[in-house]
């Protein structure tokens, strides 16, 4: 059973990490509470499905177009919906909830309430420690690792990353220093949604595509980002692995309570927050101010 938990937790943690990285970036770094984040992930999955299954484009081309189109769309949404109310966090929250619901209803109208499947990019499975792991899940782990490295590189090794971090740290000072904070925020949204779209393209083949697929990951992502620490990509990765392992342990230890795995993960998050309110790797709120 131990090897099952080790392998299953790692693979599921990788899936969550891929979804959480982009969420962490926009939620933690840019201070934009984008509830529509996982709705963009859903849009990318639908876009990928349409291009791959309906029009017959290849995996790579479908994936690239889906990520590009959704990223571009997110920038338009940002300019039209988020930017005008960005100063008011509550308004941003409500606006992004509205966006997510609009996307959901649009997909429901266009595709109906059908559950759609996307073929695996990589077929087959490998046995590791006696546990069967499909190649598609290993691909997700690899993409999660590469995405994390890419985001770290952009944030800590480029001028754009410096501007994003500076803007996140103190928007007014960054503005006074001559940075175009609106463009920086827009770039952050684009990077963040691009990551969500990559997640949609890579993760969708192991899940089911439907108009409500954005809801469950949203709760898990919130838990991971808060558990790991706001704005900490490392925290998101560790948080994702913790949640992945907690869920695996729950299922293996209490099979009849498998449906509780989400609740147990949230309880772990609450327990950690009681001890460290800033999360595992977050910056203390007092210091931020």
């Amino acid at each position: 059973m131990l090897q099952d938990i080790l392998v299953t937790g790692l693979v599921n943690g990788g899936v969550y990490a891929l979804l959480a990285i982009g969420f962490s970036l926009i939620f933690g770094v840019a201070r934009i509470v984008n509830i529509a984040h996982t709705a963009f992930y859903m849009l990318a999955a639908y876009c990928f499905y349409t291009l791959l299954v309906k029009t017959g484009l290849g995996f790579l081309l479908s994936g690239v177009i889906a990520v590009g189109a959704v990223t571009l769309f997110s920038v338009i949404c940002y300019r039209l919906v988020i930017e005008p109310v960005r100063e008011h966090e509550a308004a941003v929250l409500i606006a992004t909830i509205a966006l997510a619901l609009i996307f959901q209803e649009l997909m429901l109208f266009t595709f109906g309430g059908h559950f759609l499947g996307i073929p695996s990019t990589l077929e087959g499975a490998v046995r590791f420690l006696g546990v069967s792991i499909p190649y598609q899940r290993l691909l997700i782990l690899v993409v999660a690792g590469v995405s994390l490295a890419a985001v770290w590189f952009v944030l800590y090794r480029t001028r754009l990353g410096l501007a994003i971090r500076a803007t996140a740290n103190d928007l007014e000072v960054a503005n006074l220093m001559g940075m175009n904070v609106h463009r920086v925020a827009m770039a952050t949204v684009a990077i963040s949604v691009a990551l969500a779209a990559v997640a949609g393209v890579v993760v969708a083949p192991v899940f089911v595509v439907d108009p409500f697929m954005w809801l469950a990951p949203l709760v898990t992502m919130l838990a991971i980002v808060v558990l790991g620490g706001l704005g900490s990509l490392k925290g998101s990765l560790i948080g994702a692995l913790i949640i992945g392992y907690v869920e695996a342990i729950t299922v293996f230890a209490v099979p009849a309570g498998a449906y509780l795995k989400g609740a147990v993960a949230l309880m772990i998050m609450v327990a950690v927050l009681l001890v460290r309110p800033e999360g595992l790797f977050g910056v203390a709120f007092e210091e931020e101010r």
């Binding site: 059973m1 099952d4 499947g117 598609q136 899940f207 469950a216």
Partner: protein, 405 residues
Amino acid sequence: MLRSFTIGLAAFAVALGAQAQTIKIAILGPMAFVQGENHWAGAEMARDEINKAGGINVGGKRMQIELIRADTNEIQSVPDATNAIERVITRDKADFLIGGFRSEAVLAMQEVAMDNKKIFLGAGAAHSKLGQNVEENYNRYKYWFRYTPTKDVDLARTLFAVMASIAQQIRTELKTDTPKVALLAEKAVWTQGLIGAAQKNLPAMKMEVVGLWQPSATATDVTAELSAIDRAGAHIVFTMLSGPVGISVARQMGERNMKAVAWGINVEGQKDEFWQAAAGKAQFVSTLDTYAEVEMTPRTIPFVRAFKERYKKMPTYNAATYDAIIMLKSVIEKESTLDADRLVAAIEKIEHVGTGSIVTFDKRHDLVWAVGKTAGIAVQWQDGQKVPFWPPNVKGMKPFKLPAR
């Protein structure tokens, strides 16, 4: 001025007359989902067939059927469902109500229909409470009849009958006396009774229950559950799944090359789109179902073929709206009336040969359960095709297959 008024009055009278020539039947279902699509498709076929043949003969007067499409959106919202049924009764003046899918929503809609003394023929919900209401307060709830499916308790009887047949095949082919069964049930009210029954009955049927796993109905990832089931050495995964988790289970069992075979209720597995949704990984997944090209009744094969020709897909059990309308026509013509009370009495006595079942109603206005009549069929996905395999004595059934070991 007077001339215009006269013409207007005449047009109004003609319109009223035309209106009186139709029987309005509201089809209630979640129209954005497969269930509602099938509700509507079955009803359309019945309407077209009846209207083309001259309509319904009500005491010598020919009346056409007019369908009212009512999107209940009940999968997402129960209040939307009650609003929909209120609207078709009060604004659209529906004479009869057919449809419904989600038990919670149908229970709420049942109340509205009974308030208005409208005959409501259920075509989707299985919860026992719907029939129990009739038994407990007949005068209020007598207008409700469950045309399909059988109530939840009877679904369990069918499941165990098929399970016995599969277990016997496993004993013969795998040389094991006591097949191991893993219970995989979504966490929902409707599965609780089935789980209890399985834990009690399967050991008595010489099967070993190796564990119970309960993912959420909307879970997209069941790899941990399947790892544990694999480890437990199960021969059969007894599924009780109505939500999209049914697709995840099928797909991930296929991806893991599991040797266990899935049998039970997998609502998603009843749909034509299932194989594609599971990315072609649902080999050997089996489920209860209603329609296939087999001779359940003399009307099954012609209906299934006509449905496939018109809609390019197989009907699901919700398409029994077709049968419900045909049955309604039969009792209206027999009684020569649209009076609800007289029609209720007639429906209570009817034996109706439908397209998927031979229907008689008990005192709860539930279907009388019988293998070969109302118990339905069992199907297995084999190489992208839904293959019927039970009841074995029905013409057209094919062999059930186990995964290679």
